[in-house]
Amino acid sequence: MLATFKHRLAVVIILTAILISLFVWYGSLEPDPDVHRYPRAEDLIKDEEKYVGQEVEVGGRVVSTTPLTIEIEHGGDTRELYITGADEEPNKNDRVTVFGTLEDENTIAASEIISRPYINYLYMYAVSVAAALWILFRISRQFRWDMERSLFIKREDQDG
């Protein structure tokens, strides 16, 4: 299956180009509620009026609890949105995802809200880093890098 280095390099370049094309293609897609691709934070930040009256799904950080206000962020730009009708009472700094109708430029009438304490976010990133380190440890024990062929090769002396 593995051909010459040139052949492999060509495969990598072509596939990387396809991936980047997919990134651009996906980025150019407009929200489409019919396939449950609802307007998200980046859409609301780009054009605040366009989605009024539509269902939106946005994630953000709670900046105030009375009234419930979240800050959404995209590409360094931020905006604050009021959330009404929430059946949960998140705390300040919690991360929430809200699904609901954008009533006006600054207000979402929530039909579903999921909140997660900030500490859970830290937890998620901490264990994810641990998982990555575990894999790196296993790679270093079980594989060696062959410079000449630019390949990872199984170590014969591996013991798990």
Binding site: V12, Y26, R116
Partner: protein, 165 residues
């Protein structure tokens, strides 16, 4: 995304059980399966290179395709080019698919998961909403399960060594 640890623990368990059944699957294949299970979350590259900044250059851009079946299989195939093992692609690819299977069960505010099959189809399947990626219990359950698998594996290894003597 469920947290990465849950994905990796389950891939470890899956790979280890497969290695009991199939002699061709060795320890390093389990590692390849674990690598595969992380691939869809490469979208987290957005934490380092914010897609918003790339869009600021005037180019529509989203890392979401990495978190689709096709996108993660493409990445798996790219990685395969650097691994000298004929089973590399099927195994890394299976790891990626296991990730999608778990993530399609995640709780989502809209009740629908994500367009798994894009660009073939934009359909997002409804999600049963079993857990959040920030929940702690999935990793605990997966961890306990993996521990049992690990202990059985050690025992098997020992008895094989004894038999071999």
């Amino acid at each position: 995304m469920a947290d990465l640890l849950t994905h990796v623990l389950l891939a470890y368990s899956l790979g280890t059980v497969l290695s009991w059944r199939y002699d061709r699957i060795e320890k390093h294949h389990v590692t390849l399966l674990m690598i595969g299970a992380t691939l869809p979350d490469l979208t987290r590259i957005g934490l380092i290179i914010d897609p918003g900044y790339i869009q600021g250059l005037g180019l529509p851009f989203s890392y979401s395709p990495l978190h689709t079946i096709l996108g993660s299989l493409i990445v798996a195939f790219i990685i395969t080019q650097f691994v000298n093992d004929e089973l590399a692609f099927p195994i890394i690819g299976s790891g990626a698919l296991s990730h999608h299977l778990l993530d399609s069960l995640l709780l989502n505010a809209s009740g629908y998961s994500y367009p798994l099959f894009w660009p073939v189809s934009s359909y997002s399947p409804p999600t049963p909403g079993l857990y959040l990626s920030t929940d702690m219990w999935p990793a605990l359950v997966a961890g306990a399960y993996s521990l049992v698998i690990w202990m059985i594996d050690r025992k098997k290894l020992k008895s094989e060594l004894t038999l071999g003597e």
